[in-house]
Subunit: 346 residues, 2 copies
Amino acid sequence: MSETTSRTELSALGEFGLIERIASRVQLQHATSIKGIGDDAAVFDPQGFHQVVTTDMLVEGVHFDLGYVPLKHLGYKAVVVNVSDVCAMNATPKRITVALALSNRFPVEAIDELYEGMLLACKNYGVDLVGGDTCSSPSGLVISVTAIGEARKEDLVYRSGAKDNDLLVVSGDLGGAYMGLQVLEREKAVFKETGAQPDLAGHDYILERQLKPEARKDIIELFRKLEVKPTAMIDISDGLASEAIHLARSSGSGVRIYDEKIPIDPSTYKTARDFDLDPSTCALNGGEDYELLFTIAQADYEKVKGNPSITVIGHMTDKASGCMLVDKQGGLHELRAQGWDAFLRK
Amino acid sequence: MSETTSRTELSALGEFGLIERIASRVQLQHATSIKGIGDDAAVFDPQGFHQVVTTDMLVEGVHFDLGYVPLKHLGYKAVVVNVSDVCAMNATPKRITVALALSNRFPVEAIDELYEGMLLACKNYGVDLVGGDTCSSPSGLVISVTAIGEARKEDLVYRSGAKDNDLLVVSGDLGGAYMGLQVLEREKAVFKETGAQPDLAGHDYILERQLKPEARKDIIELFRKLEVKPTAMIDISDGLASEAIHLARSSGSGVRIYDEKIPIDPSTYKTARDFDLDPSTCALNGGEDYELLFTIAQADYEKVKGNPSITVIGHMTDKASGCMLVDKQGGLHELRAQGWDAFLRK
């Protein structure tokens, strides 16, 4: 769990000692974060911007397995998944609060690693950690992060704004995080059975996609540069198929995705083949890629054409045409949301 | 756990089904809550006010025991403890997000009860439930609520503003929640040993203090009416002694509390005696009362004098005089924070 050699028991520090330890490592970046950790609540000045707020909870044994997820990566990811939701509103992440339930099996050094990851993500995304709660847990680790971001009212993008002929666009590539998880699960199973050390060689990209995903704040900044405002947007946490259906339903439209257009990294593709999986299916249903899926007016096509960070993968249709996948032969298949469902998987 | 007769499995509904079910019951009260549940993040308009944000996590087996806490009360309390933190900044609570980790042993009907309690608290305190996350838990129930409130910059009250001779004032009465817990624990132990039905008769007040605490939003409103602005404030979640020390340390002062002035309800007093406990000790260290502890300038004494909702229990001193309890004979004892510590108790 932790490779540090010293071990300080949480009970030796106590809750207030732990809070002071965390607070001493936090440096607020924004002058608008008026009060951080250390009062009944944090205080900030929204300076006339609209505010967005989102919460995501990560539960040990459901969302992560400490058998192969380093705590620093876990902390990083816990922040990133929330930052990603803020970006999906076309807003700029500014602040987070962190609530942690910790069991006594974690020494203080392990909590330090977790916060190191969270604070690294805060630094990378320009976010202030302004408050939170720490309490004990009778069993596993639970991390709940709430992120608050800001945007001008006119810049906000909802899931519901797509028009019938808008282009459907996705950032980055898909399916990598899912294939990274498959490799980790396989190596864990091999280790359990034979005691053999994990063989992760050559899987750097997909492992990083799973263990240390990034939120596409750069895409939000790209929109400003290209002077494009998406008509609708969502981040891909559950899978492309599920999110495309969400966008279409919220907007009262149908959607058509072209299989051959879906961006898949060569290493994702190869690993999927090694696992006898269809790469497109992994991209459609794998989830946890934290890329942005958005729609733009056809008139904006020239502005985004050829940009290496984004790919046009389809378009919206009228509602009656449904949510469809177009295969390489032109055949139509109904899109199904087979992605993550908190109460069906695991 | 739930007395409802029908049982719908969570897996039959799925995560999105559950979110839709919750969303259909939520009615936003504030026009400034622009988008609630149903997008990547909620959106609100701060309308020029400063914002405060606070998070509290409740963990089954640590903060509550479903053996005697009804889910509706638990939901209510989960919101109240956060609203209380917002009030302690002299701010008005406006919005919450709720993250839940649920095990499959909860049927949908149990979740309904939990939300019924949360939504009742939202109604009573004028708060909009604007978003959240629901996920599965391998073991116990975890509830993480984040509350956001607002205030004019000049109205905000921090822990750090107390001056050396300010009066120390507390709302309501203390020790009741702790004595309520003692009664519940005793009856649970009796039930385990003998199977006897719980005998809770005559303990209405202290049981309600434990099971259904209220946040003192009315006191914030009283301040406006009396035209009093506290110089420092904190809510009493860990215990009077612990919070008074927090106030004093944050303000760079000492504090003196007069034992005989501490407000204790007669039923709290009597139950403490029945348990062979010192009522003052229960009030000082019991915690979970969610009353407000604040300081005011001596010049404001006439404005608060005789108000039945609040009691002057002491005053601030210079730092060198320390944090002291004055007993009924005038003897001085150092105040100790023996209250709740997440990693020491349980």
